[in-house]
Amino acid sequence: MSHPLQPDLSFTELYRARYASLVRLASVVLDDDEVAEEVVQDAFARLHLRWDRVDDPASYVHRSVVNACRDVLRRRRVERAFLRRSHPSSTLPEPDYLGDALARLPARERIALILRHYEGFSEQQIAETLHCPPGTVKTLLHRGTQRLRRQIER
């Protein structure tokens, strides 16, 4: 990268190649297109600043998006808990069993399921993205599926 504020060709290429697909991934995880775009743009902004130091930019920005999604999901969980306390009688206008069950999953389980079923990642690839051993991924996928099933069948 010649100048930090000048678009580097490789950066631009990566950006054009991956931006839309990463926004889609973040949208699946977050169920919110605007926040998804924010997350992905932030991830690219961080990558842009570290371009010279990052070995594998595509993996870096992918992991960066996944991690940022996790942060958003965690914050959202706290907000939901607060809202439940503040407005205990609030109800959804229409039941969405699968959506509700997915929203209640812990962030890592939800992301592991999305990486598996949407991105088609192997357990090894999920482990590399989430920085955890493959055994943990197995557990996340199993627990996530079980939890989904229990919540849906309730």
């Binding site: 902004a45 099933r149 849906i152």
Partner: protein, 237 residues
């Protein structure tokens, strides 16, 4: 409305279908290239400003403090060297209380355009015994003077020697930042600029189980005239 699936295959295919549908419904901006570069430039400007911004370091030197803190009387005010419970170290007001196993410290400091290169120290005392020493240092002047935002307030609590640091590291159970935000102006020399605590974003917070706690606060809306209040709680075993 989605209906409950009946078996494991149903669930897998339902998930795949749902994720694919959701992804297809997403509408990424057609060409947000300039936006991302603007954002990158903004991030870079903020980072540069952070590096160059005035750093107020309030260093609370806890010299052999833990044992004394543990034996302190419940609710005892954190006495300072001059006998008051609140004093000033180079523009930072410091007060606190001592509980049987914890000490709370409140530091109120102006974002310090006027405190450039100031340094001071405050030995605080509890029941006549040396408990906490607070020093303040500041190393650089903010670029562009006042009102530029991007100021940093760093609070460090550490021991005065390596031996004490080791001892304290083993004794300290928890650091916590009780609150951080703008403090109502109490000095006639301070002009309370517009802004509320809600506008102060904590940009960086590092709390480690070690003798050092570093709180860096970055506020877009901070100006040099605003008082910042940071309350810390230190709990020992």
């Amino acid at each position: 409305m989605n209906h409950p699936p009946t078996g494991p295959d149903d669930l897998d295919s339902l998930l795949q279908q749902r994720f694919a549908t959701r992804a297809a419904a997403a509408t990424p901006s057609a060409d947000p290239g300039p936006a991302i570069l603007e954002r990158a430039a903004r991030v870079q400007r903020v980072a540069r400003r952070r590096r160059a911004a005035v750093t107020v370091a309030v260093v609370a030197m806890i010299a052999a403090a833990t044992a004394l803190v543990v034996t302190g009387r419940h609710g005892t005010p954190l006495r300072t060297a001059n006998g008051s419970t609140t004093t000033t170290v180079a523009g930072c007001a410091v007060s606190g209380t001592c509980q049987p196993k914890s000490v709370s410290v409140v530091v109120v400091g102006a974002v310090p355009a006027s405190y450039v290169r100031a340094a001071g120290s405050l030995p605080a005392r509890l029941n006549g015994q040396h408990v906490v020493e607070l020093t303040y240092t500041s190393t650089a002047k903010p670029p562009g003077g006042t009102g530029t935002g991007g100021h940093r307030l760093v609070v460090r609590v550490t021991t005065s020697s390596a031996r004490d640091a080791d001892a304290l590291a083993q004794q300290v159970q928890r650091w916590s930042v009780v609150r951080v935000g703008l403090h109502p102006a109490r000095s006639t020399t301070v002009v309370q600029a517009p802004g509320t605590a809600a506008q102060v974003r904590v940009g960086y917070l590092q709390v480690r189980l070690s003798p050092t706690v570093t709180l860096s606060m970055y506020g877009e809306d901070l100006t040099s005239d605003q008082l910042v209040e940071v309350a810390l709680s230190i709990t020992v075993r």
